[in-house]
Amino acid sequence: MKHWLAAAAIALSSACTRTPPPLTDSALAAMDWPQIEAAARGRTVTFVMWTGDPAINAYIANFLAPRLARQHDIRLRVVPGQADIANQVIAERDAGRSASSLDLLWINGETFFKLRQLQALHGPFTERLPNNRYVRWSDPTIARDFQQPVEGYEMPWGNVQLLLIADRERVSPLPDTPAALADWIHAHPGRFSFDSGFTGLSFLKSLMHAFAESPEALAGPFDEAAYLRLRDRVFDWLRAVRADLWRQGRNFPRDVAQLHQLFAAGEIDFTMSFNDGEVDNKIALGQFPASAEGYALSTGMLRNSHYLGIPAKSRERAAAMVVINELLSPEAQFEKLKPAVWGDGTVLDVERLPAPWPARFAEAAARSRVPSRAALAAIARPEPAPELMIRLEQDFRHAFVEN
């Protein structure tokens, strides 16, 4: 009965699914890389990604897709819905489908956590990709996703840090501690806010780090006592500034896109981004004022990675692996590092790349409106366990959005 209901519910979305001959796990495991590349030729890979940024969409459409077609005879089909990946996987599972309509997933922490709960990811596969040898696995913000070991079930794609972005024509000096930020907010009522979505909650998690006794306070599995202690400190800070936030802290932008919109319109003087390259990118695109500048609180800001995963039931696992390997190539990583293209931090250990890549990466990484990645790395804080995000979202909503 439940299979029938779910099948009916997703009938529309699955109506156009192709049915290529399935490649069994054992057959895929027995293949070497050239055989995987051969099996990938002529295939179409359905890539579920966040399509909310025209710059990222352009990178995929204008750089990646033609490259895949030219070099591997793979057709890339992009579908939006990154936030709905887990829901779609559940719908397919409930429908009893033997094959997924998705082949490649843009995921990170919370989605990885959900998909691992659902045992919906193919893997381990990362070590089979030739470009895996260049990945900076020694970086804990790459090797662990929201404190969860990656264990070969997702491949890092980009590495980024949370930044505050201020309009320097209106904000000087930059308040770089929670106390200084509170003073600025009191002195400029209605000109600061944060969203209640992923980025805003990441800002609150950075404040938890700022109020923690040590950078390791939130490391490891979810710790209820540590969470409650640090949550209360952050909420005390928020209550103290609430009346002087945008809309008196009674309403918050729903997501970072709304926050950016308020900033670009001049309604507030701060926004934030979980991509430290976004400031230069948005200025280049004319979406942020030239006076925008990104910076980190000296008490530390979160750094994390976004990843690529393959659904366990994808019929195109071989082709998806080839696409991921291509996305890890120095050429693809270099292209998306350029501020004018995307400004997304690389996950490669550039020093291990053959010449002339190290020099080229160093040159492309230069930014004008944000500190260097090396400077930011010194105050980077790791993501806490995913359960903390779930609790923080519920508690913040109850304490501030609904009250």
Partner: protein, 281 residues
Amino acid sequence: MPSSKTERLLLSLFALATGGVVLLALAVAAAGSVGLIGGVDTAFTCAHWRAILSAPTLWLSLAYSAAIAVLSLLPSVALALLIVLAAGARLRRAPLDALLVLPLAFPGVVAALVAVQVLGGAGWLSRFAHAAGLVAGPEQFPALVHDRLGIGVVITHSLMVTPFFVLLIARLSILERLDDLAALGRSLGATSAQALWSIRVPVLLRGLSPVAAVYGAALLASFEVPLLIGAQHPAMIAVEIDRHLRPLDLATRGQGYAMACVYLLLLSTAWWWLSRRTAKF
């Protein structure tokens, strides 16, 4: 003339495409609400129902949605009546006829984005107010979008709905031959005010009621406009259901299905009650 067999087939297809879809949606929502589909684990549970029935969120959202729907609908109908009664046949002449149709072509997303540009803290109205020396900055301009009172949502809905009712009322006036009826009333001794309130308005309202009820239901379930320019709390019911169906914690997803069940059942009951009343009338 279609045969009775063809007629039955067409009616069955229509029933399947309307009632069938609703019943299917209800069945899916019911299964999800008790944990049979849609969660991490699939085991029967009443926890989702207990959670949504005991918390104020669902009831607040339903009441808020009803209030926004009524507040959007009533002024729109009243304004449309006023426009038709005041403008009369001039509405059928260019460029008014084209201008009236224009807002109907705007999807909700576009209307919401325009509302931000006009009503937002840094929008046109705010800039005019600043230029006129009424406010010192965006933070002093009253909250007309993303506001808990739903002012921006009501204004945007009304601007989208009013042209539709203007067209409908203008058409009804012709079909019901209101000018002739009013003239007849006056020839029998009615004053202009009596012709208006005892002839024109009652006839129009009787013709409008079923359409207004359907439009009210559509406004009750409005999604794009409140999502883009409404407050997060309280939220209209479609936005609230959507939020509950995309939780960070997958274990609570059944609450979204339970909310959808309650909403579908309430709407179906209201529809059944209204159809009975209309039939009696």
